[in-house]
């Protein structure tokens, strides 16, 4: 305040771009990009060696090298068919699917939190994941497996429209109203999913219901890797390149509009992108909660609120996070397996509570 009142000169002196003015400590946050890439690579390489089966690290590498056509070149003996199948057909697809799903969900979380200016927004809490699960289960029951990602997308879009519509119908769209509306939509979709499975399934319907509602990558195949991986690479990259646009929403719709953003069009394009990606991911993994909620908040502590680094870093750390969560899910109570959603909820729910507490002003 004093600075302005006491200054005589009507015009500011030329300002250097140097270190004169205190620069935020976060300027160095770009270094986290190589760090997060390294973390992800190490995560995948280490996680693939962890597991209950009687396999050594060397065995695992022999299998992978063999499939990459490097076995001969490295002079490695091929692994036995059973063990090889365990690595190549079970563990690796599972880990890569978890990585793709984790990255995609984290990006979805960032985009939703920005566009709705709601720190509690994520595909799970707002009901998109449950809607996608319902869509997926419906086509599986009918037997139209080919339509799986499309149906999941349809379910996610319907859930999104229902949640935002309901929140808007209550009154002004506040974060709390959005979450409450999302909860209603999510519960309804989850109940419908359970009902459909009970009605149709002949075998272990409990397990199947659980894997759709809590999420699981236990059944991941190379097809899962392809669907989740391509969706995350294509849609995730598109969404992650919208940093400047999302930045413009920091102070709300009017500010975004005044900064040259076509608010209604951008909002719907990006939310449809989020629904598309969520649908593709959920069709392979069921609805895994809290990844999209907590990763963006954790990464903001490193990068600040601007999106240029927040988006890619959330994706990269989200990938590592879900790989480790799934590794815990399959090893902690081995030979029993937990749905990975139990692990992410155990970590995410307390963080959610913390966010509620921190954001109590915005209710």
């Amino acid at each position: 305040m004093t600075a302005l009142r006491t200054r005589e000169a009507p015009r500011p002196a030329p300002v250097s771009t140097g270190a004169g003015t205190a620069a935020p400590a976060r300027r160095g946050a770009a270094w986290w990009v190589p760090v997060s890439v390294a973390v992800l690579v190490v995560t995948v390489l280490v996680a693939v060696t962890i597991g209950p089966a009687d396999l050594s690290v060397g065995d695992v590498w022999r299998s992978i090298a063999g499939h990459l056509g490097l076995g001969g070149a490295l002079g490695l003996e091929p692994l036995g068919a059973l063990q090889d199948g365990m690595v190549w057909q079970l563990r690796l697809p599972r880990i890569l699917t978890a990585a793709a799903v984790g990255a995609g969900l984290a990006v979805c979380g960032v985009v939703m939190q920005s566009l709705t200016r709601n720190p509690l927004a994520d595909p799970y809490l707002l009901g998109l994941s449950s809607g996608a699960s319902l869509g997926a289960v419906l086509v599986l029951v009918v037997g139209w497996t080919v339509l799986l990602p499309v149906a999941a997308f349809g379910g996610a879009v319907l859930a999104l429209v229902a949640a935002l519509g309901l929140a808007g119908a209550i009154g002004t769209i506040t974060p709390t109203r959005t979450v409450l509306a999302g909860l209603a939509v999510s519960q309804l979709a989850a109940a419908a999913t359970s009902f459909v499975i009970f009605w149709s399934a002949t075998g272990d319907s409990y397990r199947e219901i659980l894997s759709w509602l809590m999420g699981s990558v236990a059944g991941a195949t190379w097809t899962s890797v392809a669907v989740a991986g391509i969706a995350t690479l294509v849609l995730g990259t598109l969404l992650a390149s919208t940093g400047s646009v999302l930045d413009a929403f920091t102070f709300g719709d009017t500010a975004a509009s005044a900064l040259g953003v076509n608010v209604p069009r951008v909002r719907w394009l990006l939310l449809v992108g989020v629904a598309l990606l969520t649908g593709a991911l959920v069709s392979q993994s069921g609805s895994i909660g809290f990844v999209g909620l907590i990763l963006p908040h954790a990464v903001r502590m490193l990068t600040g609120a601007r999106h240029r680094l927040l988006l890619p870093l959330s994706a990269l750390f989200g990938a590592s996070f879900l790989v480790w969560a799934d590794t815990l899910a399959r090893t902690v109570f081995a030979p029993r397996e937990l749905p990975v959603g139990i692990v992410t909820a155990a970590i995410g729910a307390p963080v959610f509570a913390l966010l509620l507490w921190r954001g109590r002003r915005i209710a």
């Binding site: 003015t21 935020p24 400047s244 920091t250 102070f251 500010a255 609120a305």
Partner: protein, 288 residues
């Protein structure tokens, strides 16, 4: 900042090439809005408003609650589309609403009321948001962006807390940051909605002084103001709205007179003269 604004003027002249000359002696510069109408749910909020804001002046948009001040700013800024095809908004002779959004955001900046965020955003980062219209969507901040942001922080006297988080600032400090963010856009036209709301008197005068300095540098400034006395002290030109129509417009001395104010606000107004500045000082009492 001066250089910067010359750039903008050149940019704009380039953008608007072919149109009538910019701020000339013919008085065609600044904002010239005609027949601005806006309806919501069948309710007419703005009813064919004609308003001007001359270049190089601080213009005040005045009027009672609900008279349409904020709405008029939002329509002029292109945030809301006018509901009547006859609406024309010219700036320095060119069609402001006809410009593309991004191009318009390089000419015009809008400071809203009470904009806030819960995100961990530093003041410098908040001000850098003003550079979004000036760079490609995929690019990061350039040195030029940082230079503009720092100059804007300097102009409003907030350089000292560039590294602080916006959420930790007082109302007055936050208002300055929003002003700095608008200045980082390097606008030739600055619109503000109640920029002095919730500020103490010193901060109010500071804000108005910044606006004055910008006007002196050639920026067209249009601010919706609630406080008639502050407007009387600080504005050159005022537009008085009531019920979505313009009641009076022109020089403060001509518009802020008892007859007009008594009629619009339903009060009794005395106009005194400030002993030092010679500007009008308003005193209000209830009508019996």
């Amino acid at each position: 900042m001066t250089d910067v604004r010359t750039d903008v003027a050149r940019d704009l002249a380039h953008d608007l090439a072919g149109g009538p000359g910019a701020t000339g002696a013919d008085g065609q510069g600044g904002i010239d809005a005609r027949r601005v109408s806006w309806t919501v749910d069948g309710r007419l909020i703005l009813d064919g408003v004609d308003a001007t804001a001359p270049p190089g002046a601080v213009s005040g948009l005045l009027g009672p609650n609900g008279s349409g001040k904020s709405t008029l700013l939002r329509v002029l800024a292109g945030v809301e589309a006018p509901s009547d095809d006859a609406t024309r908004v010219a700036f320095d002779g060119a069609d402001l609403l006809g410009l593309g959004r991004r191009r318009r955001a390089r000419v015009l900046a809008l400071v809203e009321q009470d904009a806030t965020t819960d995100l961990p955003l530093t003041v410098l980062d908040a001000v850098l948001l003003g550079r979004i219209p000036h760079r490609s969507l995929l690019a990061g901040d350039s040195a030029r962006d940082h230079e503009a942001a720092r100059a804007a922080l300097e102009t409003v006297g907030t350089s000292a807390f560039a590294a602080r988080e916006v959420a930790t600032l007082s109302g007055g400090e936050r208002q300055r940051v929003h002003l700095a963010r608008a200045l980082a856009q390097e606008p030739a036209l600055l619109m503000l909605d109640e920029p002095t709301n919730h500020l103490d008197i010193a901060a109010q005068l500071d804000t108005m002084r910044v606006l004055r300095r910008l006007a002196d540098d050639g920026v067209t400034v249009l601010a919706a103001l609630h406080d008639l006395s502050l407007a009387a002290q600080t504005c050159d030109h005022v537009v008085l709205l009531s019920g979505g129509r313009v009641v009076a417009a022109g020089d403060v001395h001509d518009v802020l007179v008892p007859d007009v104010l008594d009629d619009v606000y339903g009060v009794r107004t005395e106009v005194l003269t400030h002993p030092r500045t010679g500007r009008p000082v308003l005193a209000f009492s209830p009508r019996d």
